[in-house]
């Protein structure tokens, strides 16, 4: 019998890698190779007759001229304004996300009581509504004769032109767009806090404010960081929000610059270089996030 069992074990030992193989190959071919392709295009030294870069697949052929030009132009030059704008917009949109998202997540996770299921369903709902649809909805409202201006008219404020390169509109649209993605991880982490700890804190004489600062906030720190990272990453690479609610070069972000070079012109090596640069900037956040989730998974086991 031990022999048969041994044979089984060897069979299953080979089975699991075999099952994992197709998906792994898929991700190598369509995730890792494409990432390499970005580098091959960004570091390309030759152009073809259409003026498009010929990718340098061999690392020995890599030319860094374009990438270094993009780098120096980003630090101080034509791309500088775009990078600063991206950082500023992302920062303010995140401030709004924290300011609105934390109270909402806190209330729905800890205090909602009987209505918890309903509130959670309503908070999850935007997650399943197409992002472009949600932006389209605001374009309806923000038109010159739209409901927002009509509402402002009732209060006696003159109508405003919202959709022509207005930074405020872009920041609000980003916050509106990504708040659902911000709230849910925070909700999950606030939900996991043991209520007895909060009661203990109160029994020891701390008021609501100090209980929040010394117990709830530290315990939800991981959830808050997760929420910030997973909203900051797509926000920093966003271009469609901007195009829909502004469409003006005055509010253009890094994502718009990438889309412009890659899809609307031959200078794909410039586009690829900006993608690389953006990835390097965001890589830090991505790795930090992966590190945190791995550690949390280990703690949970």
């Amino acid at each position: 019998m031990p022999d048969a069992k041994h044979g089984h074990d060897r069979e299953t030992r080979r089975l699991w890698p075999a099952l994992a193989l197709p998906g792994t190959l898929w991700l190598i071919a369509l995730f890792l190779v494409p990432t390499y392709a970005v580098m091959a295009v960004a570091f390309s030294g030759n152009i073809n007759i259409f003026g498009e870069p010929i990718p340098a697949w061999n690392p020995l052929d890599w030319q860094f001229d374009t990438f270094l030009t993009v780098l120096s132009e980003s630090v101080s030059g034509i791309y500088q304004a775009v990078w600063i704008r991206t950082a500023v917009y992302t920062f303010w949109a995140l401030v709004i996300c924290v300011g609105v998202g934390y109270p909402v997540a806190y209330y729905s996770a800890r205090l909602a009581g009987k209505r918890r299921g309903l509130i959670l369903a309503l908070i999850l709902a935007p997650w399943w509504i197409n992002y472009i649809t949600r932006m389209l909805a605001w374009v309806n409202l923000l038109q010159d004769d739209g409901y927002v201006n009509k509402l402002l008219g009732i209060v006696g404020i003159a109508p405003h032109s919202w959709l022509n390169g207005n930074s405020f509109t872009v920041v609000m649209a980003l916050a509106y767009g990504y708040l659902p993605f911000f709230i849910i991880p925070l909700f999950a982490s606030l939900d996991r806090i043991d209520g007895r700890l909060l009661e203990a804190s109160r029994d020891l004489g701390l008021g609501s404010v100090r209980t929040f600062l010394h117990v709830t906030l530290p315990l939800s720190r991981l959830g808050l960081i997760t929420a910030i990272v997973i909203t900051a990453l797509p926000m920093a690479g966003d271009y469609y929000t901007n195009t829909i609610v502004s469409g003006s070069p005055k509010t253009s972000m890094v994502g718009n610059q990438i889309e412009l070079y890659l899809l609307q012109g031959p200078q794909k090596n410039l586009g690829a270089s900006i993608v690389l640069l953006l990835s390097f900037v965001l890589l830090f956040f991505m790795l930090y996030y992966l590190f945190l989730t791995q550690r949390a998974a280990k703690d949970a086991r």
Partner: protein, 305 residues
């Protein structure tokens, strides 16, 4: 749950009677009116614009900002309505075909990957699992532009359009399936298959007759989530769609929104919304089959987000 919402408000034990007056911010058992208001205002803010957009899809006129009465003219039978405008109808058809195809390819691949990586305990599987999670945290614009550059420059046998979009959608969907199915696999443990094998089933039989039925709710839920996220995807599609014959609904909405749109665009968005909500509802029912009790399936969906 904490004691906050229980009606112990005034009956805080002992010392309360001897205390004179407690300002509301010192009373931990007061009702959280401010937070409740903020939450409901947020919900209103997040959903009302969409509801208004849906409302205008039924507008009896060309305006998307002035209500002119109820009509179905932008859905059917009027010139320029969803079912008369070939490009709107085409985008809807393309979105549905692409979503379905993505489900059919990504779900089996993802389920197999999840089984393999979870049960195969080795260093390689840990590395592979890490790699499989990276697409989840990579900004869409990076995924989209990388896929675009590789299709144009290396995989030239894959034409831009539906084939390229399918490859792209499957790539980001595999990770969703992996996360959902893997969490279920970890929670049910390996004992059931082992028992099956000890009773004489081959490994494949054990997977087919024991593991797959146990995983069915999560497989179904992940299929629905893949469908919804494929319908929802804009960035990857925009980089890979090639020409106007392959536009999906989000691309159509995006390109039409700045160019004198009519309520037909709202009608198209509404139809997409109905499609996603239907998939979500089915996923919810699927998840619910695994745990009894209200709320738990919603909590699961929240966790998967």
């Amino acid at each position: 749950m904490t004691a906050v919402e229980t009606p112990r408000a005034q009956a805080a034990p002992g010392t309360t009677a001897s205390r004179k007056w407690v300002p509301p911010w010192r009373n931990p058992w007061r009702r959280p009116y401010v937070l409740a208001t903020v939450t409901w205002l947020y919900i209103l803010w997040s959903l009302l614009p969409v509801l208004i957009a849906v409302q205008f899809s039924f507008n009896d006129g060309r305006s998307r900002s002035t209500w002119q009465g109820f009509s179905l003219q932008w859905y059917c039978c009027n010139e320029g309505s969803v079912f008369q405008d070939p490009s709107l109808l085409l985008s809807l058809k393309n979105s549905l075909i692409l979503g379905l195809a993505t489900v059919l390819v990504a779900t089996p691949l993802g389920v197999m990957l999840a089984m393999g990586l979870t049960r195969w305990r080795s260093r390689t599987s840990k590395v592979a699992n890490g790699i499989a999670l990276i697409p989840l945290v990579t900004p869409e614009i990076v995924v989209g532009s990388a896929l675009y550059l590789v299709m144009v420059n290396l995989y030239q046998f894959v034409p831009l359009g539906r084939p390229a979009m399918l490859l792209g959608h499957v790539t980001f969907s595999i990770s969703y399936v992996l996360v959902i199915v893997r969490s279920r696999l970890l929670s049910i443990g390996g004992e059931y298959e082992e028992a099956g094998r000890d009773l004489g089933a081959s490994s494949l039989q054990a997977i087919r007759t024991i593991l797959v039925p146990l995983l069915m709710p999560s497989i179904f839920a992940s299929a629905m989530i893949v469908f919804a996220s494929s319908l929802d995807d804009f960035v990857v599609s925009q980089f890979l769609y090639g020409d106007a014959a392959n536009i999906t609904v989000p691309i159509k909405l995006y390109s039409a929104v700045r160019a004198a749109p009519t309520p037909a665009l709202n009608a198209l968005a509404t139809l997409l919304l109905v499609g996603s909500l239907l998939a979500l509802f089915l996923a919810y029912v699927g998840l619910r089959a695994r745990k009894r009790g209200p709320g738990s399936a919603l909590d699961d969906l929240a966790d998967y987000g």
